[in-house]
Structure formats: C-alpha cells, structure tokens
C-alpha cells in the first residue's frame, strides 16, 4: 500500500497531491490518501485516484498546523513502517516528512523527482546532481512539485472513506493565527507574453537598469528569482518559483539565474526559455530551449541595442 498525504489550503486540494496520487497509482499495490482537517469530508470525493481515504478530523486541524498535522499524520500512519509514504516537498510537507520520519523511525528521502522499483531519485546541489537511493521496505519520499503530471492523479472514482480518530492535540504548542494573502503587484507577471527574469548574476541593484531597459524594449515585465526579492531589489509579486508565482509566458529570458529546482518549478512550462549564464553547468540549461554562456553584461545591452 502507498500512502499519500493530501495537501489542501483554503478548501482546495493542491496539485502536488494529484501528482503523488497519479504516481502512486502507477506503482500498483493500492493507494490510500491521508486527509487531515476539519469539515473536509467533501474533499474525499476529489481523491478519485485513491482506493481508500483515511480521514482524520479535529478542530485543531482546521488550518494546517506544523505540530498538530505531524502528530495526527503519525498517529494515522502508526505501524505502517513497511509502507511507502509520499508527502510533498512543499512548505507543509517539509514539516510532515521529517516529523513522520522522526516519530515512526522510517527512512526519509527528500527532493524526490522519480521513484522506480527499489530506487528513488532526488535532485540535490541546486539541481546540479541527481542521486539514486536504494530502497527496500518502507520509506517516506518527499516529492518535488512538477515531478509527475497532476492530470494522472485527477481521476473520477469513489474511494472507500474510513474515519480515523484524531490523537489528543490539546498539548500542541503551535497555534494558527491567520492566513495572509499575497499582495498584488503593479504588474501581473503571470499575464505577460514576455518575461525578462533576473537572478543573482546581476550582482547589485544598480545593474537592474540594464535588464529593465531590455524589458521595456520588449514590452515585457521584469521578473526575478528569490534572492532578488529577499534583497528587496524587486517586489515579491515579481518572484517566479515555488514560493513565488508560476508563469507560462511565450518567451522567458533567464538572465543570471542558476535554475535551482525551486525556481524551475515556476517557469519550466514557458513556451520558449532562453538562458544567459556564464556557468555552462548551470541547471537552467537543462530546461532552456536556447542558451548562451556569454556574460550577461555583454549580451543584455547588445540585445537592447538591436531592438
């Protein structure tokens, strides 16, 4: 049996859940979805790819809670150490995966991009290395979003729903306060045909001028990788990736971006990806359609000049 931890927020099941359900189904042997929450029985009908749903409800699980969800998941899965457990390598899954590993004493493999018989593949070193781990018996795999097609897990079906009693969660020391929706930005980068996207290769804030000029000439928006936002050089609404936005422009020009898995997650479906990066081994070239290792400070102004 393969267990899939269902991820949902604001009443909506996240795509990662469908990716994992689809993959689990293709592995054979039966799929059980583990659904934690409160008033979420309705979501079970959206888990048609699963054979069974283990439903664990408690007021303390109304909103995701790092400690309560770990404790509940561990209680539901207690004694299943010989099974495969799939959890998203997401913000929620990064609490539950290690939590389950610690409580159940099961091996954990993170950044998982593929699973085959006896072997689990992870992406490490910022996407520069793939690693295969031998598995034999039960383990927890923390799956990177975008590794499997979500469509394959979006099946009609009526899984058998079994309610499981929640453990005592009254001693939980983490308390949910509120969800804060992201602020809208001045431009919606998800709606642009062309994005000029800038990464840490730009070195400093003043240099943004050259990519802004190029974006202006292309009637494109400027987007970026996470460090640019962490440095407060551009607004959060410009960030592409796991904790930013998913974009699918016609043209995505990646300038000085290495292509870490968390960035790739947000842009790999762009129609045409062009990467400018001086490191010929940068993972961005594995996803780009066109690439150059010329210096961005030479190429970017030269493109602007020709437009």
């Amino acid at each position: 049996m393969i267990y899939v931890i269902v991820e949902h927020i604001n009443g909506k099941i996240e795509d990662i859940t469908y990716e994992m359900l689809g993959k689990a189904k293709s592995m054979g042997g039966g799929v059980t979805a583990v659904l934690l929450g409160s008033g979420v029985e309705g979501l079970a009908s959206q888990l048609g790819a699963a054979d069974n749903v283990l439903l664990c409800q408690s007021p303390e699980l109304t909103e995701f809670n790092p400690q309560a969800n770990c404790k509940a998941a561990a209680s539901v899965l207690a004694g299943k150490n010989d099974s495969i457990i799939l959890v998203g390598n997401t913000s929620m899954g990064m609490e539950i995966g290690p939590g389950l590993s610690a409580v159940l004493g099961m091996p954990l493999i993170s950044y998982v991009t593929d699973i085959s018989d006896g072997s689990v593949t992870s992406s490490l070193y910022g996407g520069k290395m793939s690693v295969q781990s031998a598995v034999d018996g039960g383990y927890i795999a923390s799956v990177m979003a975008g590794s499997f097609p979500a469509e394959s897990g979006m099946l009609e079906g009526s899984p058998n729903v079994e309610s499981v009693e929640a453990p005592d969660l009254s001693d939980v020391k983490v308390h949910f306060v509120k969800l804060i929706e992201p602020e809208g930005g001045d431009v919606d980068i998800t709606q642009k045909e062309v994005l000029v996207s800038v990464g840490r290769g730009i070195q400093n804030e003043d240099n943004l001028e050259i990519v802004q000029e190029l974006a202006d000439k292309l009637n494109a928006a400027l987007s970026c990788s996470r460090p640019i936002v962490d440095n407060k050089w551009l607004a959060k609404s410009r960030q592409v990736g796991k904790s930013g936005l998913k974009v699918k422009p016609k043209v995505y020009l990646a300038v000085g971006i290495s292509g870490a898995p968390e960035h790739i997650e947000g842009m790999k479906d762009a129609e045409c990806i062009i990467a400018i990066n001086t490191d010929e081994n940068a993972p961005i070239f594995d996803y780009a359609h066109y690439g150059t290792t010329e210096d961005l400070f030479d190429v970017v102004p030269a493109i602007s000049e020709k437009l």
Partner: protein
Amino acid sequence: MNIVVAIKQVPDLVEELELNDSGTDLDREWLKFKVNEFDDHALEAALLIKDAHGANVTVIALDNGLDIDKALYAAAAKGADRVIKVTGDFEGYVSTHKAAKALAGVIGTLGADLVMTGVQAVDDRDGQLAVLLAHQLGVPHVTVVTDIQVNDTSATVHKEYGGGMIGEFTVDFPAVLGIQAAAETPRYVPVAKVRRAMKSTNIEEIGGDGSGASAGTEVTKMYKPETGQGAEMLSGSAEDVAAKIVEIIRSKGI
C-alpha cells in the same frame, strides 16, 4: 532570551562539481565549501532579535574537519556571543538524521528558548534539519519562516506557502524554527573584523554523539542530470548571440 543557531558548510555551487571514483558522492578533496546560505539567514534573524530586544546568541556547528572555525569566527564577528564546535565522528558527508541527533545532544544542555537553522541545504538528501532537530529535542517546530516577532514566552512567525501565501502562527518556547529568509539581507562582516574575532573569541569544543542515527538508505549513484535534450547553445561573440536571441524572440511573434 537564549537563541541557538545551527550552521553548516555546504559545497559552493559556483565551483565545478566532480564525482568520486565510486560515483556515489562528490569528490570532496578539492571542493570549496561555504556556509549554507539559509543558515546565514538564520543567524541574521537571530542577530536582528538580539539587536531589537537583547538576546544571547550561540552559534553551533559540527566539526566536519573542514574550515568550520572560520565560519564560527565570522559568526562571532557578526555578533554571536558564544560559538561552539561539536566534535566527534563527523568527517565527510553527514546525514541530516545524524546531525540532528548529535546537535540535539549538545543544544539540549544550552537552555535555548529558540533554536534556528536554515530551512534547507543543498545536500540534505534525508530531509531538512529543523524539524528533525525539533523532534530530537521534543519541542515544536515551524519551518519556511520569513518573519519572527518575539515576546518573553513565544514567537509569532510567518510561514511561507506557495504563491506567496503566508500562514501566521504563534509558537511557545522552546521551539525550533527553519529560516527561509531573514527580514534583512545577512550582514556583511569585513575581513579585518573576522581577524579580530579570531584573537578574542574562544571556540568551545563539546563532544557530540550522532551514532545510531542515519539516513536509513544508501546512495547507489550520483550523476549530473540530463533533463530533456538540453538547450541549443548559441555560438559566436556576445554581439552574434544577441542577434540570434533577437531573431528567436521575433520568431515567436513578439
């Protein structure tokens, strides 16, 4: 308030990564290492709390046989009050499970209100440290944290989800936080200041024990990925490349 920050070194990805002879790990002999960038953010987040409210900041790292002393001196120069090197059998690659056990054994004796470390590292194949550490210590955890407000007994933190959505939580002390980003860019410390810290700082050495804890699985193969066909590389001078890029963009009807 006592804050403990756990840091570690990871291979600097700017360098070319080579495989060892058996193809199961990096060839570590010539690798350049640097402090995990998210651990740098964890230290910055701790120092910001110290600046605003006063706090005792201890930085702790496993002695991995590399130049961890330099990282600890740099932490002292930035404002850490105490730096600890956990000695023991930690050479080469150390799994997160083993690191969590060894660190927890020492951190558990330090009376920490908050333990902070980076949300992830580029090599944590068997899971991220923060949550494993919390379970070893038997305290609550929140990871992927971007904002921290503290009072005497608890912290209010922002945990980032996908799409920029944030969950706000309070967490009672003692607790472990996995830090995604500090509110400020990690402070820069000039070399001269690190040199001064080397003279005035005592790196405490405390024995640690990670035995019995492991990833639970073995690596059978490490390799450079080849996803899809890879990019068509544009040749020629920067000017030529620029002309080709313009042509490609135009061909998309832009």
